[in-house]
């Protein structure tokens, strides 16, 4: 007997349901992917080259040693070296820097390592405690444009904090250390 298929078995229902599912899944995946993407920078700054040239991190990000924010280099800081670098005149990427200098504008760097609003991070104690930059920011000799290290979440922070001596743990696990 050729019974009509129940509605949930009909092809168009299944195709539609499948499509809706795929769209939702795609949206979710895409949304998550977009938030995890490394942002576009105004200048494709090659960290690997600069670090390889022996420039210490704190030269361009000096705030890390005395305050909460490491800071992004100003146009002047770049220009301080680059006006003496021959390549500045030839490299198309560096022409952008020249343009900023000529316009007397800052370079609109996009900060990459950003903690959420409710997390208050301070570089100084970490630098003072001897934490190397690459512990959190990755090995910059292998990175050109800065990339966000994924999953810098609270568990990641605590992983390191919990390895500290016991007497520090009270402070390092205190909620108000980061959240207020």
């Amino acid at each position: 007997m050729n019974k009509p298929l129940p509605w949930w078995l009909r092809p168009w229902v299944r195709v539609t349901a499948g499509l809706i599912f795929l769209i939702l899944l795609g949206g979710a995946v895409g949304g998550i992917y977009l938030t995890q993407q490394t942002p576009q920078q105004p200048i494709q700054f090659p960290h690997s080259f600069h670090v390889g040239a022996g420039i210490p991190c704190l030269y361009c990000h000096p705030g890390a040693q005395w305050g909460p924010v490491a800071g992004l280099p100003t146009t002047q800081k770049c220009w301080g070296c680059h006006q003496q670098v021959a390549k500045t005149k030839t490299s198309p990427e560096l022409q952008k820097l020249v343009a900023y200098v000529e316009k007397n504008e800052g370079i609109p760097w996009v900060p990459v390592f950003i903690q959420p609003d409710f997390v208050h991070f301070n570089h100084r104690p970490h630098v003072a405690a001897g934490v190397a930059c690459e512990t959190c920011h990755g090995d910059m000799t292998k990175v050109t444009v800065a990339e966000a290290k994924p999953r810098q979440n609270m568990g990641w922070c605590l992983d390191c904090h919990s390895k500290q001596p016991q007497e520090k743990w009270t402070r390092l696990s205190d909620c108000s250390t980061c959240h207020y």
């Binding site: 129940p6 979440n153 609270m154 568990g155 990641w156 605590l158």
Partner: protein, 480 residues
């Protein structure tokens, strides 16, 4: 309808006059199993336009009043409710306690009566257990609705996260979560286990999608001796274990309040007080439901007799008295203790702008039951019982209202005294959860055998004539 079916007079004992009343209550006019099966299945498959209208209306109401409003609440904020400083808890928690209370009696009636082998329980245990499950389903929504950030409610669930930060097991709310989860799961299982033979029965007599559902749910039930033995064992474990769980649930709900520092809440008798209140409201709700089922569901006049309602009515009367005792106990001690805050609070309950709630609570929970339920005739009149039990539930709702927002409003700092009045979204959500309960019940009434046929039949067969010497022993419990 029932009159069409003739009793199998040749095989079964004809009741003598003096036992007739008792026997009717115990359904001592037995009918063959086949007949009972047919009647129950008939009630499940028989739908009228009125039924579909009710389902449609309730579905729309649930979608708008409950789900729509909840969505709106989530997207705008708890502020659309009437809560404010200092009444941080309002209708949300009142309704939560109300539903948890309702959900108590289902299990209470079923498990306690099962444990005590009270024979009259048989036809309505299923209806009561369903009430428990759906009452819990409606109630368990409320802590979620109440949350300021419901999208992270799972932080209350104990699971290992990257931070090794677990819930606070010293918080009564976590106890609540565990207790309600336990109770919801166990009461659902407790509903399901005795349902197995009936599902198998339904499986054998249906086709199409119903058959598919029942086949899946009946777990291949055949009725072998091993299966029956297993079932008996499991049911008796449940009947004994679920009673303390049930008591713990409402005790823990009461601890949400009693553990606090709020004047008027910090009371050691809140646990039993809440339990008694819950059972009072729950048994009343069972009666309400039975009356409604009897009037609306096909063939139910055979299974649910005024005598059942009568017996439950006696229970309600007893619990109304017990509730009054606990209420007085709580009130007197708090009043006599003489703390200024509490005294001001108690006089606020009785004389504040919302005093009518307090008086209605006493009227509905004490005066009306005491005036009506001593009378057997009234107890056997379904519509009277419907009215009385509905009023008791309103009264119990008022009790929770008095305990929660009205008490929160008058605490230790008069500068921060406040009044609470629910706003439309809260009322809508509360009505929506009532609609959800009714909708679930309506749907279940057409999906699940509302009468545990095998239990009824078991009872009836157990009453087959047993001669002990020269007398006839009518009940199994006496036989044991």
């Amino acid at each position: 309808m029932a009159a069409e079916v003739k009793p199998i007079a040749n095989t079964l004992h004809t009741p003598s006059e003096e036992h007739e009343e008792l026997r009717e209550q115990l359904m001592f006019d037995p009918r063959p199993r086949e007949e009972l099966n047919r009647m129950v299945l008939d009630s499940m498959t028989h739908t009228t336009p009125r039924y579909w209208t009710a389902v449609g209306v309730l579905t729309v109401l649930v979608l708008t009043l409950l789900l729509g409003m909840w969505g709106y609440l989530i997207f705008t904020g708890i502020g659309i409710s009437g809560e404010r400083r200092p009444n941080y808890w309002g209708i949300f928690i009142v309704t939560f306690v109300f539903w948890i209370g309702i959900s108590h009696a289902g299990t209470f009636v079923s498990a306690i009566l099962r444990v005590f082998k009270a024979e009259f329980r048989r036809p309505f245990t299923r209806a009561a257990e369903l009430m428990t499950t759906f009452g819990l389903a409606a109630g368990a929504l409320w802590p979620l609705i109440h949350l300021g950030r419901v999208w992270v409610f799972y932080w209350m669930i104990p699971y290992p996260n990257a931070r090794w930060l677990w819930p606070n097991f010293r918080s009564p709310l976590v106890w609540d979560l565990l207790a309600i989860t336990t109770y919801l799961l166990s009461s659902t299982i407790y509903l399901f286990l005795p349902l197995l033979p009936d599902l198998a029965m339904a499986r054998d007599r249906t086709t199409g999608w119903r058959h598919a559902i029942y086949r899946a749910l009946a777990l291949g039930w055949r009725g072998t001796e091993a299966e029956w033995a297993r079932l008996r064992k499991a049911i008796s474990i449940f009947a004994f274990a679920i009673i303390p769980v049930m008591f713990s649930v409402h005790t823990i709900v009461s601890w949400d309040f009693a553990m606090g520092m709020v004047g008027g809440w910090n009371s050691t008798i809140f646990g039993p007080y809440f339990i008694i209140g819950a059972i009072l409201s729950g048994v009343s709700a069972v009666i309400t439901i039975l009356v409604v089922l009897r009037a609306t569901l096909k063939n139910m006049t055979y299974f649910i007799r005024p005598e059942h309602i009568d017996a439950l009515g006696k229970l309600v009367l007893v619990f109304s008295m017990a509730w009054a005792y606990f209420f007085f106990n709580d009130y007197l001690v708090q009043w006599y203790g003489g703390h200024d805050v509490v005294r001001a609070l108690l006089s606020f309950h009785a004389s504040g702008p919302d005093a009518w709630i307090w008086y209605c609570m006493l009227l509905f929970n004490i005066v009306i039951p005491w005036l009506t339920l001593w009378n057997k005739k009234l107890r056997r009149t379904p519509w009277v019982m419907l009215v009385v039990t509905l009023l008791i539930n309103v009264g119990m709702y008022f009790e929770r209202y008095t305990i929660i927002p009205l008490t929160l409003g008058h605490q230790r700092m008069p500068f921060d005294w406040g009044e609470y009045s629910p706003r439309f979204p809260e009322i809508s959500l509360a009505l929506g959860s009532l609609c959800l309960f009714m909708l679930l019940y309506l749907l279940a009434s057409r999906l699940i055998p509302m009468v545990p046929v095998w239990e009824v039949r078991e009872g009836q067969e157990a009453h087959l004539v047993r001669k002990v010497g020269k007398t006839v022993v009518p009940t199994v419990s006496e036989l044991d």
